[in-house]
Symmetry: C2
Subunit: 181 residues, 2 copies
């Protein structure tokens, strides 16, 4: 399974691809950060992010896209841009028919480090170990994108089967993983 992870942001949007399956070593495919300038109007920045994500989806053809779930209680000065970037990321994936999953920061920290309260350095260190890298990916947004992809692979299997079963049953209450905004 190949998963594209996105840590959404207007100034720095982490993006990374991880391949593997539960119980087997995971492999880093590629990782980077999409950057936009605060000198640009927000709509131009969002179009740049859309083009960047589309280019990654074209190049790496992932099976699923894992995006950090953004909360309204986050830092007020950046939360609107982060929410908008996450919306663009979701649309880029969903209009191709790709599976989309939102994972909270706590879920990601717990999945990769065993603690929902791990700090950035711990997450970076665990991503480095899990993917057998020489050094933690920089900046933290890049490591976070990989941590999201790892989380999705590790959590995704069981949940994806449950969602598929619910969807097949046509339940009005069927909801994909963390679908609420």
């Amino acid at each position: 399974m190949r998963v594209l992870g996105i840590d959404p942001g207007l100034t720095r949007c982490g993006i990374g691809v991880v391949e593997g399956q539960v119980g087997r070593p995971l492999t880093l495919v590629d990782v980077n950060v999409l950057r936009t300038s605060s000198d640009e109007p927000v709509w131009r920045r969002l179009v740049t992010i859309e083009k960047g994500i589309d280019a990654w989806l074209d190049e790496f053809n992932p099976d699923a896209v894992a995006i950090e779930r953004v909360f309204a209680r986050s830092d007020v000065s950046t939360v609107m841009g982060t929410a908008q970037a996450s919306g663009i990321a979701m649309v880029c994936a969903a209009r191709r028919g790709l599976a989309v999953a939102l994972h909270t920061p706590s879920e990601v920290k717990a999945a990769v480090s065993g603690s929902g309260r791990a700090d950035k350095a711990q997450v970076g260190a665990m991503v480095t170990r899990i993917l057998r890298l020489d050094a933690p990916p920089k900046p933290a947004d890049a490591a976070d994108a990989l941590a999201l992809a790892i989380t999705h692979i590790w959590r995704g299997g069981a949940q994806a089967r449950i969602d598929a079963a619910l969807a097949a049953a046509g339940s009005r209450h069927a909801r994909p993983v963390r679908s609420t905004p």
Copy 2:
């Protein structure tokens, strides 16, 4: 000048087109509300909104798109979806090269009613009068979308010339109307 106004929202996204110029009677071209179900995952709802806005842009070919500026201090339970819908609206317009402008609720209320504290009913009544309609557009999201378009036409002329001059001067500090997120 033909302006498409968008009152962004995940459950109800107001959308309306107004034609005219400062000092002349304005005309309603069309107005409606794009709706998505909270039973759907957020990414599917955002794709539905994207398709709806694209269809309106295709049909009405506006000169500019005016979108309500969303604030982080808005109602927490809906603000993330509203921010995401506004991001999609901006991208739909910007990737076609259309002028995008964000107007705050206070600016819109002040433009159409003379008071930045006007209530929904007052805005609806003024939109009805300005566009010479038989009754206020319903629901309020539809009236708000038209109020945004009216605001843009009335404020837009002077500001657009200033922005164009700044852009032409290549100023690092040139910023379109209300560009900050």
